[in-house]
């Protein structure tokens, strides 16, 4: 029970997943793909919460409580953001974030 892989493994996966999600947010043109990057970053944060919960003895449940709340908020965020994207699509006929520049000075 003690011979589990060290926490570095999980934390490094989480850091790489966060960087990949950040890349998606920065370089993709489609707003839906940008949202996918945000979901990847939220998952990286959740993985960290659960890993640190596990490696601090798993006595207190704060890590998992936080993860559940983050998943809930991710769902709400995805629903509202996709609704906004559909609304933008009806207005502009595109969801490419570099073509929606109505407020550009």
């Amino acid at each position: 029970m003690n011979e589990i892989p060290p926490i570095q493994g999980y934390v490094i996966i989480s850091a790489l997943l966060f960087a990949i999600g950040l890349t998606a947010v920065l370089v993709r043109r489609n707003a839906i793909a940008v949202l996918m990057g945000i979901e990847l970053m939220l998952n990286a944060a959740n993985l960290n919460f659960v890993a640190f919960w596990r490696y601090h003895g798993a006595e207190r449940m704060e890590g998992q409580v936080f993860a559940v709340i983050v998943i809930t908020l991710a769902v709400a965020e995805a629903a509202v953001a996709l609704a906004i994207i559909l609304s933008v699509y009806r207005r502009f006929r595109t969801v490419n974030v570099d073509q929606i520049n109505l407020m550009k000075g």
Partner: protein, 182 residues
């Protein structure tokens, strides 16, 4: 029979036999490689399906960490809900998911550099830190203790989350219903 097999598998995982590292590496690759494909796929539908694989592998990592309820929630909510929502949104915005259209913007180079720098700094800091590990993990009745924590000390966060879900649902309906004024 299945219960005893499951028990044996869990014990084999937790006893540090070869299965645990194998599963860990499999889930780690299953998380990271599809995530990269989400970034580089030309077809947005393929990106959504790779996202499904990546999120399901994160659920596997939760299982390895001993958070069964969270793994189930991950599968139900992300794979069953959010990815389907993404696919709906992709299909309701026709023409945008056309693979012929350029999928990356002009920040491709600098975005890649920024993310690589972030990953390099994070990896350097994380691998140089000697992590103190509590070896006596209490993994009995994780789900029950999570429920007690959610409805005990954290009941306020629980209720606020339910209100947020209601507000998000109503808000999404209102935003999508509003016709653009001509």
């Amino acid at each position: 029979m299945i219960a005893s097999l499951w028990q044996a598998a869990v014990e084999a995982f937790l006893s540090g036999s070869f299965l645990y590292p194998l599963a860990f590496v499999a889930f780690a690759l299953g998380t990271l490689v599809p995530a990269v494909l989400v970034v580089v796929s030309k077809n947005i539908v393929h990106a959504a399906l790779w996202l499904l694989v990546s999120l399901a592998s994160v659920a596997g990592l939760y299982l390895l960490l001993g958070a069964e309820l969270l793994a189930a929630i991950q599968i139900l909510v992300y794979c069953g809900g959010i990815v389907v929502l993404f696919l709906f949104a992709i299909m309701l915005t026709p023409g945008v998911g056309d693979p012929e259209v350029r999928v990356h913007n002009r920040q491709l180079f600098w975005g890649f550099i920024a993310a690589t720098l972030l990953a390099a700094v994070a990896l350097h800091l994380l691998s140089s830190e000697p992590w103190r590990v509590v070896s006596t993990a209490n993994l009995t009745d994780v789900t029950g203790r999570l429920a007690e924590a959610l409805l005990g000390p954290y009941v306020l966060a629980f209720e606020v989350a339910s209100v947020i879900l209601l507000v998000a649902m109503i808000g999404a309906i209102v935003i999508v219903r509003a016709e653009p004024r001509e």
